[in-house]
Structure formats: structure tokens, C-alpha cells
């Protein structure tokens, strides 16, 4: 059985890199490459070894979208990495840049005013809904349910429009700045947001009818891909996937940032740890995000407008920029921010993105560029789940598990 030994990948002598063969493969195992051109994978590859219909070994081969964010983050000053990091999770843009902004704020010692905090939280929650709906859409395709794809994608447009009204961009908002936010809400925004919230609440009930309570879908999800609490902690699974396994961990509670300490919301936690629980966590999170949007919009409407950048920074604004801020509620980028210097130090910023906790370790040597930006996104930490959760399941469970983990390769590969 062990005669046919291969070292996989075939990456051995060319580089002088030490390559350790992970396993000796026997002849009777069947090797299937899922991806990167494969309807069941996004921008990644999973090498699956099958014994009959059962997955014996799964080896996620990620990095197909590695666009060198950490390196490029080191050479673009302090402000310009924000649009760069957005591209990791383009439909979750505000959330994914939030930790970087928080880390830079910690280093600079600035604190955004409360109104800016509310604005940022508002956009974060809009993005979270968009990210979850995107996840549902992909999940629907994986289970052969094209209607779920279309519905979720169509309803995602509602929240994209909401974000567009707030920031002016469909996906890449570049909204949070160190010490503030870019724009105040437009006049007709609260009404728009309330209508969107009501619409989504109605639609969630219809989702339950056609997708979540669909007998076929339920039978595909229940008891599939179970991650126990211990395994989730051992593998360091984050976000909704960890919360589906009974780990009540959410950065919005653990290390509250922005307006979350002021807002009233709950963090859904499930105990089952299977694909259905992971799906249901996301449904519940959408409901909570809708609550947050309502509260934030109400607060923003009730309270008077004020400059939405940090007081210290605002003091440096030239009169013209101050005028723009007062009349239009727009924070202009200062010319000095192109060559901004940040005090020496190390900071960790983290935020709860749609897919879980994202961490930025930012180190400054007091210069115009960050000395080191280390990014660990939620998907990057969830990638290990494929290796340890898939074995033992049938090959037809692979899309159910993949979809329920809501893995987004560009975010993972950075």
C-alpha cells in the first residue's frame, strides 16, 4: 500500500526548501483537486483524498489571491494603506479597515468624537449585513439552491445602496480615518435606513421559509461538520463559526470599540457547532445588526451635528476645510496626512468583522511609513478548519461545510 509514495506538491529540490511530506499516500486513495477553477471553490484549492466517498485527508492550498498586503502596507504612508486593506474583504470594507484605524489611533493617541464613532459603527453594521448576505448567497449555490443566491444577492443591494448613500462608494468606502470618519449622514438617510431595516426583517422570514426550513437544506446541514467547543478553541476558529460552537467571544464585547459600549445589542451563541448552527448564528447576527442600525440612526438624528474628527486634528484644519466640515459634514484629508508621522510604538487593533475577529499589529518607528503591519484576518484563522473538520465526512458534505464556514479567500490570503 505504501509503495506508491509521492511527496505532494512536487516542490522539493528546486529551491532547497525543506519540504516535509505530510503523509505517505497509498494507491487505494483517490485524490481530487477541488479548485482553483472549480465551481465548489472560490479562489483556493483543497486537495481532498478520498477513500470511497469518505474524505480521509484534506489539504487546503490557499494563497491564490495573495496580493502582498503586509509588504505594501509598509511603504505607503499611514493613510494610504486604508484603501489598500479594503481590498481584502471588499464587501466588508469598513469592518476590515477598522482595526487598522483603531491601531493607528492608539499609536497617535487620538480619539474620535462620539458622533464619528456612531457613524463608523453604523457603516460597520451595514457592511456586516452585506457580508452575511454574500455568504448566504454563496452557500445557496453550494447547496444547489439558486433562489437563495439570487435573493440574498438582490437584498444585499439594498444595503450596498445604503452604504453608497452614506459614503459615496458602492463597496470601497474608505470611510474611517484615524481620529474620525469621512462623512456625516445625508438628510434623507434615516428614512432610507428605516425602510431598509423593515424590508430586511420581512425578507428574513421569507428566507426561513424557502431556505432555512427547507427540508432538503436542513437535512444537508444538520449534524454536518460539527466543531466542538474544545476543537474550536484548539484551532482558534473565530467569529460566527466559534460562536456556533458555544464560544461567546465577540470583540465588540471583549474589547469594545467605537460606539458599541453605548449600543444595546446581543451576541448570538449556539451550542451545536454544526453547519446549521453556523448558518443560524449569521441569521441572528443580521437581526442584531438591524437593531444596531436603528439605534445608531436614531442617535445620529437626535443629536446635533458636530465636527466628526478628533479635536486635536480638527484644530489643525485650515479655514476652508473647517467650512466644508461645518456646511457639508465632510472631513477633508489634510495635505500633511500624506507625510504624517506617528509616534514610535507597537499597537494591536482589532475589530469584529463579518467573518470574525481581525487583528492588525502595527509597529511604528516614528517614521512616515509603518515599520511593520501584521494582518491576521478571520478567514486566515478559519482556513485551518478545512484541514481538521473535513476528514471523516462524505465528499458531498464538502460544499455544505465550506459554505457554512463562510470562507473568503481574498481576506484569508491578504
Amino acid at each position: 500500500m505504501v509503495e506508491d509514495v509521492r511527496i505532494y506538491g512536487g516542490w522539493k529540490d528546486e529551491l532547497g526548501l525543506k519540504v516535509v511530506p505530510s503523509k505517505k499516500i497509498g494507491k487505494d486513495l483517490y485524490e481530487v483537486f477541488i479548485g482553483p477553477q472549480h465551481p465548489g471553490s472560490g479562489h483556493m484549492r483543497i486537495t481532498v483524498r478520498l477513500d470511497g466517498d469518505i474524505i480521509v485527508e484534506a489539504d487546503p492550498d490557499i494563497g491564490y489571491v495573495h496580493r502582498t498586503m503586509e509588504k505594501l502596507g509598509e511603504i505607503r504612508g499611514w493613510i494610504k494603506p486604508i484603501p489598500l486593506f479594503e481590498r481584502m474583504a471588499i464587501h466588508d470594507a469598513c469592518n476590515i479597515t477598522m482595526p487598522y484605524v483603531l491601531a493607528v489611533e492608539k499609536l497617535m493617541g487620538v480619539e474620535p468624537p462620539l458622533r464619528a464613532k456612531y457613524l463608523r459603527s453604523l457603516l460597520c453594521e451595514i457592511n456586516r449585513i452585506g457580508a452575511h448576505l454574500y455568504g448566504f448567497a454563496i452557500f445557496g449555490v453550494f447547496l444547489g439552491h439558486s433562489t437563495m443566491y439570487m435573493w440574498a444577492m438582490g437584498d444585499r443591494e439594498v444595503f450596498i445602496e445604503l452604504a453608497e448613500a452614506l459614503t459615496g462608494a458602492r463597496l470601497t468606502h474608505s470611510y474611517p480615518l484615524p481620529g474620525g470618519a469621512r462623512r456625516d449622514i445625508p438628510a434623507d438617510f434615516p428614512d432610507m435606513a428605516r425602510r431598509a431595516v423593515n424590508y430586511m426583517r420581512k425578507r428574513l422570514k421569507e428566507y426561513e421559509k424557502i431556505f432555512l426550513n427547507n427540508p432538503v437544506i436542513r437535512s444537508r446541514l444538520e449534524g454536518v461538520g460539527v466543531i466542538s467547543k474544545g476543537l474550536a478553541a484548539e484551532l482558534g476558529i473565530v467569529g460566527p463559526n466559534a460562536r456556533a460552537s458555544g464560544i461567546g467571544y465577540d470583540v465588540r464585547i471583549v474589547e469594545p470599540y467605537d460606539a458599541y459600549p453605548e449600543l444595546d445589542f446581543e451576541v448570538p451563541v449556539f451550542r451545536e457547532g454544526d453547519a446549521l448552527a453556523r448558518t443560524m448564528v449569521r441569521v441572528e447576527e443580521i437581526k442584531q445588526s438591524l437593531r444596531i442600525i436603528e439605534q445608531a440612526v436614531e442617535w445620529l438624528e437626535k443629536n446635533p451635528r458636530e465636527p466628526i474628527v478628533d479635536k486635536y486634528l480638527y484644530g489643525k484644519y485650515p479655514p476652508l476645510h473647517k467650512k466644508i466640515m461645518e456646511s457639508e459634514g465632510r472631513a477633508k484629508l489634510l495635505p500633511i496626512s500624506a507625510a504624517m508621522k506617528v509616534p514610535k510604538g507597537r499597537a494591536i487593533g482589532r475589530a469584529e468583522t463579518g467573518r470574525g475577529e481581525t487583528i492588525y499589529y502595527v509597529e511604528s518607528d516614528g517614521g512616515v511609513n509603518p515599520y511593520r503591519v501584521r494582518i491576521v484576518t478571520a478567514s486566515a484563522r478559519n482556513a485551518i478548519a478545512f484541514k481538521y473538520v473535513l476528514p471523516g465526512h462524505k465528499i458531498m458534505d464538502l460544499p455544505a461545510i465550506y459554505g457554512s464556514l463562510d470562507y473568503f479567500p481574498p481576506e484569508s490570503d491578504r
Partner: protein, 196 residues
């Protein structure tokens, strides 16, 4: 008539003549172009983050399917490849292989600024330009382009196929023969090349 060859002739020549007679007629040309243009099925190859906007293009709001473009699963049954943003060095091999697996009248749309000339990642050490990998028909700027733009690109490609008779020429000639990709396949997929 003495030799058996006279009956059969050169099979290749006969086949080519028959194909010319069949396809040389203008109506059949038009039929081929019309059919190809209204049946542009993009293959499922997601290269980068523009795939979210690609997905939005085929969602109810824009509904790319109304132009006859149906995202399909495997390369063998499709004829359009939409490069969704950056192509990394690791992905370039997959792009080229997918392109080579597709049957002949086939087209490519390069979507997003990264697919034009690197975009935001112009100085990254891990990207290649799509035009180095496969011949591109339509370039589509934007970072990311809106779904309407992609729908527009599909319509533009349809018009290009019909007005320039791309598909029928391809079917008749066997190869379109305009642009050739720059990087040879061995360099893309061999892991050995350091030049790209």
C-alpha cells in the same frame, strides 16, 4: 481513377473545402456570430475580489442572464472567461490552463484596474498582468467596476463578435490569430521561472 486516392482525395483538403462551402455562405456566418454572441457563458474562475461584483452582475438587480450569459461550471462547456481583478503568480497558471481547456471560439474580459495594469497592486511582487497570460478582448476599468459596467462589457463583446465576425472567422480559420499571450506556459506553471 486508376488509384484509390482519386476517390477519397486528401481528406483534410476535402474537409476544409466542405467547411468553406458551408461556412463561406454569408447567412451561416451570421448565424454562427449571432449564436455565439447571445450565448456567452462565463466560466467559473474567480481570480480576485472583483468576483463580488461579478456575482452582483448575475444577481436580480442587473441580471446578466438577460443577455444570454449564464455562469457555468466547467471550462469545457463555456466560451467566455472573465478575469475578476488581480491575477497572482499562483493563479496565473490556473487562468492559462482554464483558457486552454475551453473550446475554440472563446473570449476574455479583463475586469478591474488590477487586470489592466496592476491597479492598486502595481508594485506587488506576486502579481502578473492578465494580458501576459491570455489574449484579452475587452478591458474594463474600475476598482471594482460596477455591475452595470460588466453587463455593458458583455454587450460590447456581443457587438464586437457580430460586427467583426470574430466567431465565424475563428470557426473557419481554426484560430483567430491576433494576440498571443506573452508568457509561455512552462514559465507560468513550472514554478521554476523567476522572471515573471
Amino acid at each position: 481513377m486508376q488509384e484509390g486516392k482519386a476517390y477519397v482525395g486528401n481528406l483534410d483538403v476535402t474537409a476544409k473545402r466542405a467547411r468553406d462551402i458551408l461556412l463561406g455562405k454569408v447567412p451561416l456566418d451570421k448565424v454562427v456570430d449571432w449564436a455565439t454572441s447571445f450565448s456567452l457563458w462565463p466560466v467559473h474562475l474567480t481570480t480576485s475580489c472583483c468576483s463580488t461584483e461579478f456575482a452582483a452582475t448575475f444577481s436580480p438587480r442587473v441580471d446578466g442572464e438577460q443577455f444570454g450569459a449564464l455562469p457555468w461550471v466547467g471550462p469545457r462547456q463555456t466560451n467566455l472567461i472573465i478575469i475578476e481583478g488581480t491575477v497572482t503568480k499562483k493563479m496565473a497558471c490556473a487562468v492559462r490552463l482554464t483558457w486552454e481547456q475551453m473550446p475554440a471560439p472563446k473570449f476574455a474580459i479583463a475586469m478591474g484596474a488590477c487586470a489592466l495594469d496592476g491597479g492598486l497592486f502595481y508594485n506587488s511582487y506576486n502579481i502578473v498582468k492578465p494580458w501576459q497570460v491570455i489574449p484579452i478582448d475587452i478591458y474594463l476599468p474600475g476598482c471594482p467596476p460596477r455591475p452595470e459596467t460588466l453587463a455593458r462589457a458583455i454587450v460590447t463583446l456581443q457587438r464586437k463578435i457580430r460586427s467583426k465576425k470574430v466567431a465565424s472567422t475563428w470557426v473557419r480559420e481554426g484560430w483567430r490569430g491576433d494576440i498571443e499571450p506573452v508568457i509561455p506556459k512552462e514559465d507560468l506553471c513550472g514554478w521554476a521561472a523567476k522572471s515573471i
